[in-house]
Symmetry: C2
Subunit: 356 residues, 2 copies
Amino acid sequence: MGERSVNLKALAAHLGLTVSTVSRALNDYADISPATRKRVKLAADQLGYRPNQNARRLSIGTPETICYLMPRQIGPNAQPFVAQLLAGLGEALNERNWDLLVSQADASVGDLASIERLVKSGRIAGLVISRPLKNDPRVRLMQNLGCPFVVHGRTEKCDGYAWYDVDGEDAFVTAVNHLARLGHRRIGFIGAPLQYQFAQERLDGYNRGLTHNGLSQDPELVQIAEFTDEGGTAAAGILMDLPRPPTAIVCVTDMMALGALEALHARKIRPGTDVSVIGYDGLYFGKHAHPPLTTLAQPQAHAGRRLGDILLSIIDGADPTKFQELQRAHLVQRSTDGPVTSNTGQTIVSEREDSL
Amino acid sequence: MGERSVNLKALAAHLGLTVSTVSRALNDYADISPATRKRVKLAADQLGYRPNQNARRLSIGTPETICYLMPRQIGPNAQPFVAQLLAGLGEALNERNWDLLVSQADASVGDLASIERLVKSGRIAGLVISRPLKNDPRVRLMQNLGCPFVVHGRTEKCDGYAWYDVDGEDAFVTAVNHLARLGHRRIGFIGAPLQYQFAQERLDGYNRGLTHNGLSQDPELVQIAEFTDEGGTAAAGILMDLPRPPTAIVCVTDMMALGALEALHARKIRPGTDVSVIGYDGLYFGKHAHPPLTTLAQPQAHAGRRLGDILLSIIDGADPTKFQELQRAHLVQRSTDGPVTSNTGQTIVSEREDSL
DNA sequence: AGGCTATCCGAAACCGGTTTCGGCACGCAA
DNA sequence: TTGCGTGCCGAAACCGGTTTCGGATAGCCT
């Protein structure tokens, strides 16, 4: 309230100079004498002058803002990663004093329209897309609009734009290898709807891991469900009620794996002893699961920072196809994986490491 | 790329009208004939015209944007609520086509400066402060700047501005009452640093609950630690290693409660049987803890939406002090609470409900 | 026919900055 | 003394919209 915040005109009047002179002084133009520059900056500090960013950005022709497209969430299961991701993005943007906008939009028609409005209205210089579908209309839209963007994840056909992803296929090969080494030969897979590219990749990795270890692909061992804990519970229930149930299960997310554990408990099956379970994400809470969940952890501490840097580079004119970065997940062994055991329930204790 | 997006001048030229006429037509001014209005809007649609928001907002004098001040996180423990909160805020803003900015800032000197820059630069019309300290300089700063704001949580002296909070004191009275009814007379408290107002409130509730049930306040039963799971583990360890350990523990957050469970397990103490543990937050993952964590759940599905609506009202000129809303937490009984038992470990099974 | 009002649109100022251009005053060399 | 280049600042256009104001045209009435 009180007086309006001091603007350039007021500052110029205070100094007895014109706005153009003051503006150039503040922006370190060489044609302003050092003495005047100093005097102007001092007065600006004292009066607490801050340039109006709307006006400035209109003038310089860039919004100096990027947008993070937050996926819509399903149910109360929080998205524990967005805070960390936003923090990383913010860090990258802060160095230039750019702003971070957040908008919620998935691949629905209405959301596509709002994305188009957002871009065309000149509010943002680029955006980050999360959790893409196999064939995501948001990606095509961005390409048609000619608006810089980077995808956190990949689509099925992922050449031609920038993305940053964790290699889910490789991760599931690793998981199956690990279980095969423990003696498992019937390994179940709990997946998410295959419209999501990450779900397809992880299923591919599972299958590749099976053949690599000389195991046959049994269709009844593959269960697709919604990626919530309830989905995991339902899928694991189906798997364990099979005539020949698996001795190990890999799950497409930790949340589903937690749900799977419930199904095992309900059947008095001991996870890690009777049946192994491996999740994916590296969810921190997995530590406190019962028993602590073995998982494939994504290195996502720097995802936000990296996505921000990539997007800024593209906005600066870099070739988007130069930025296609694949990170590797690593196995965090906690307590839900173990060797195959006989029906007596006897188990062989092996060394455990709990990094992170 | 390609052609620049069509602006008002181009649209006017295309129609053979002036920009002022087109602008008024689009904004439904009465002095533009209905026929012209229709013609203009049709052409705008066909050409895909979207007004430049930076220009528009500069002209109309409001940034049409609010900012969520995201608290800096500590360690890898994600903040599971921010996604939900942002979704709610976005929902409130969408109805007006306002934007949501996210900035990370706590109460440090450097962050205060960046908040001041943000406000003075005219980028935002208001902001949301989260997780305030007892005496939070951000609140004072906003008051001095005369910038509309709403606090998610409260400071110690919380009259004079708008806030939305859950009654932590009441919640902890409820928790202590519940435990007292189960027969517990030595109840421990695991708290967070008292510079956070929520930590103080919950401690106050704990103490009030004790006296209300005729229990004495034993200082050694109050342990303050960092609000992480490790902090909870350490604090619970101290409590359980006491000569006269408590038979029940209330924890200031679910994360700390999960840590406390680890300390119990390490000592072969069965949570819910030998020692009761009650957390606070209603964290979804508590369902999968070992055993499932009893907790006081905050009704936070609508927090974001409500905070957004409140802030918009204040920006519209409403009196901030009219918006001081206190929600109640409710007990979600899972499996870590139970009656006091003798040393034999015998337990009385009681009914459980697991709402949510 | 003349005057008056209502209708509709164009002209121009403005929001608050940035940036190009031109000109004044000065110093220096011829 | 004149001329010229240089240093320094002011004037003005511009970014892309909104909004006030004034004027032209048409219609209506007497």
